[in-house]
Amino acid sequence: MNEIITAVLLVLGSLFSFVAALGMLRLPDTVIRMHAATKAGTLGAGLILIGEAFFYAELGIALRALAAIAFLLLTAPVAAHLIGRAAYYSGVKLWQKTWIDQLAERYISGGYSDPDHK
């Protein structure tokens, strides 16, 4: 039974990882690509780690797998936030169909322009 659950989780996790990589290659701009990297990528790795916990069915392994998942879930948003801010600030081009850019009033052409913060 555990073997079947593990096999299903392995296939699902690798499929989500593949979707993440496909999105990384095909999506139109940096900020949109970050969706693929952080969400689908973390989900894929997390599913495979849960599969590992099911496969060995030992407390030590399961706890280590859970620790790895918790670490991924904690660090992925932090890294994504840092990259997104640096990307926007360094002036990456947004997709031509982007219709809302709330930071545009604060950051002007790669420079910080808000007088309240400096």
Partner: protein
């Protein structure tokens, strides 16, 4: 290692192959760029994919110590991503502080 015809072995081979293809696709984005931020995002995804690959290989090979390798790799990869993002942020800051420098003039041409 599980028996060759067991569901875990078959799923493991499938998952390892698919993860390798995914890493190659992310590498293509790493090469293509075009901005430095794109490369950092691609590198971040590659590190997450390598963690997934290590976990899958640990199941496939029946070797639990690869799980520890995956945890350690995730730690170091996070630090690397943060360092690269801060580096990009700092160079962008420098550019906006002295916009008249030669390098910046070249960039705007």
């Amino acid at each position: 290692m599980p028996v060759d015809s067991s569901p875990v072995a078959i799923a493991g081979q499938f998952a390892l192959a698919l993860l390798l293809i995914s890493i190659i696709l992310a590498l293509a984005r790493l090469v293509k760029g075009p901005a430095a931020a794109d490369r950092i995002v691609a590198l971040d995804l590659i590190s997450i994919l390598i963690v997934a690959f290590l976990a899958a290989y640990s199941i496939y090979a029946g070797e639990t110590s690869f799980l520890d390798v995956a945890i350690g790799y995730a730690l170091i990869a996070f630090l690397g991503t943060v360092a690269l993002a801060r580096f990009l942020m700092r160079s962008a800051l420098k550019r906006s502080e002295n916009p008249e420098t030669e390098e910046n003039m070249r960039r705007h041409e």
